[in-house]
């Protein structure tokens, strides 16, 4: 391999030393340590709050620095590509996280619940253990864990939520086009609409959860309640995170940040939002309808 050194190569921005990651570790550790204490029946509330505050403060300052660097043209297309790669692969890791829970849903529905009813090897064990149990979905198992429960109809709030998220996908794309055509007004309106739709989605989800608990569909309602709440719950948390990201982007847009060519943060938030959208479509079909 022969090499020579070029003199006119561009310079990659390697940031100066920083205390934020270390502080973030302390914040994150305190947060989960407080939670561990609560789970073990000790008092950990104060520690959790302190940890969350440290983490929030750290991220605020850390990302503030990055935003400042971005706005003062420290980055070229080279650094920008690193951010884009980072965000894409982060979203891929999130896809795999949801894949685990979807995998659980499919495994339970297609394999393990029918097996409880004697499907597969055609053994008679289930007749001796739980003769009257109907191994059909939805189920809370042969133990009727959590007691009888009702179901949330897909045609009610879930359908409304689907429409909300789909239209938020449209509004965020509208905002993107406005940004690319230097239309600041439409950019702000598009983002504001997206944030609003995300917030309404979260409120609807809260109302739906309250309704579910009224009809005794809880996290403790066997495998159905477990998969229902864990899938929709983690999705809801991601909607919340996406909404916060879009809100920050909205505030930055109002301050005049971003240009038609340089707006990685906007695109990252938009990618994340579309990811959340697609996950919801999967949920809507496999949790609510089918």
């Amino acid at each position: 391999m022969t090499t020579s050194t070029s003199t006119d190569n561009q310079h990659y921005f390697v940031p100066d030393t920083t205390i934020w990651p270390f502080l973030a570790s302390i914040g994150l550790t305190s947060l989960v340590w407080g939670f561990i204490q609560i789970l073990n029946g000790n008092s950990g509330k104060f520690m959790m709050i302190a940890g969350a505050m440290v983490l929030f403060f750290t991220f605020f300052r850390w990302f503030g620095e990055v935003i400042h660097e971005s706005e003062s043209s420290t980055y070229s297309g080279w650094e920008d590509k690193s951010f884009r790669l980072g965000m894409s692969w982060f979203i891929f890791s999130e896809v795999m996280f949801f894949a685990a829970f979807f995998g659980v849903l499919f495994y339970a529905r297609v394999l393990s619940v029918p097996w409880l009813g004697g499907a597969g090897e055609e053994f008679d064990t289930h007749k001796w253990l739980w003769d009257t149990y109907q191994a059909t979905w939805p189920t809370n198992g042969p133990g009727n864990v959590g007691g009888d429960f009702g179901l949330v109809a897909w045609s009610g709030l879930p359908l409304v939520n689907t429409l909300l998220l789909l239209s938020s996908g449209v509004t965020v794309t509208w905002a993107h086009h406005a940004l690319k055509h230097n239309n600041r007004q439409h950019l702000i309106w598009g983002l504001a609409a997206t944030v609003a739709l995300g917030t309404i989605f979260l409120i609807c989800q809260g109302v739906e959860y309250a309704h579910a608990y009224d009809i005794n569909l809880t996290l403790g309602s066997g495998i159905y309640g477990s998969t229902f709440f864990m899938l929709t719950g983690f999705h809801g948390m991601h909607v919340l995170l996406g909404t916060i990201m879009l809100f920050v982007v909205l505030l930055r847009s109002m301050r005049g940040h971003f240009t038609a060519k340089n707006h990685f943060a906007f695109e990252a938030a938009a990618w994340y939002w579309h990811f959340v959208d697609v996950v919801w479509l999967g949920l809507f079909i496999f949790v609510y309808i089918v």
Binding site: M1, S4, S6, L39, S82, G86, W89
Partner: protein
Amino acid sequence: MATSTTEIEADIHAHDDHHHGPEPGLMRWVKTTNHKDIGYLYLWFAFSMLLIGGAMAMVIRLELLMPGLQYVEPQFFNQMTTMHGLIMVFGAIMPAFVGLANIMIPPMIGGPDMALPRMNNWSFWILPFASIMLISTLFVDGGAPAGGWTMYPPLVLQTGAAFPMLIFAVHLLGISSIMGSINIIATIMNMRAPGMTYMKMPLFVWTWFITAYLLIATMPVLAGAVTMLLTDKYFATSFFSAAGGGDPVMFQHIFWFFGHPEVYILILPAFGIVSQIIPTFARKPLFGYSSMVYATASIAFLSFIVWAHHMFTVGLPVSAELFFMFATMLIAVPTGVKVFNWVSTMWKGSMTFETPMLFSIGFVIMFTIGGFSGLMLALTPVDFQYHDTYFVVAHFHYVLVPGAIFSVMAAAYYWLPKWTGHMYDEKLGKFHFWMSTIFVNVLFFPQHFVGLAGMPRRIPDYAVQFADFNAISSIGAFGFGLSQVLFAYIMIKAVRSGKKATDQVWDGAEGLEWTLSSPPPYHSFSTQPIVK
């Protein structure tokens, strides 16, 4: 392993104006965004975890030295096996490889640093906190987790106050790994020097590229699995309880969907290291470079569809057992390609046997032994006999100790002169290699025999007919443990008083990293070279 501050500052490129050298004092290590500083932190961290996990292994082997219960309670013994596994996998081997990636990938591809230096710092600094959380479970009510490193429910749900600590320690370690891997992928895709095309990248870079992909794809799945354990224990869910319609076997499926790619995460970077070292000391280019790349990718692909070979005895449908048996045996093909390529690289080479080469040849031979016992375990009907015996313990320790750990040691000997500018003591290095190799075989080879004869794993006591082989195995363990103290001595001695190393270090070594000075400048390639 770090060089002194003044040396590094002297080496900073003159035109590198808006980059500063390291901070003075301890804060250098806390606040650093430099890929080499972070890499050294990873390596020191991994080495201390190796000693802690190793001490636990010594407790295990001490108890197993003779039949009967001598030194520890069975519950504590189980805590030792569980913690030994968790610490070695997540604390020692993975961070050691990430450290090597951090130090070596930027210079190997002609980049100035890692792509996301601040996140790089965070990836490391989560680790010590997570490990302290994990190790401190030894001192809480009910002791450390004792249900095995695989955390199978319902047994693991009986863990005491340590349970949420275990879950969140795994979460934190996972976050660290995911961020580290995102950084490595972004670095490889974005920081290569002009002309450094994908098919010109050194094999260590290639294997890490694929390993990082495996990590990003599987660590979130592990996060999902342990989250479900947590909610099953504290929030009334029924994922792994048949009474509620769940299935404890489902945990095993999710865990091993992570766990099988994980074993390749622990060995692919080792393949990369050995593929760097053997050509250097055989003084021939690597035989079959592109087949090595494709073999690595094939292994990664296959690793996603073989997970249930860890579960042949749980009562899978016969069709599933057949599928997973054949898919597992397929892995022997790309792995064989690699072994034959290493051997062909050495064929008719002008070989010399410096310490890194000895460790690499040891790797090839002993990893192959572990690979063959893996092939035996892949056969479903045969596995019914071997499952959960010491044969399994012997198998995975052959691929992880004289496999993964030998490769890390080979890497340390091979690159230490480049990192520090000082040579290690060759005589002592060779002595360390022979001690390690002899004792590691005394340690693990007899375990094949007791396993085939039916001795189960994870027990503190055993039937008397296994006594002789267990005694031999324990003696090997103590010898192997002591040999690693020698390793620490050789490394420290090299840093302190080793004779000066040249920039080229090894006359057969090729690649961009050898064009840098020894030790290299603080920011490896501030100006990118052009690769022709």
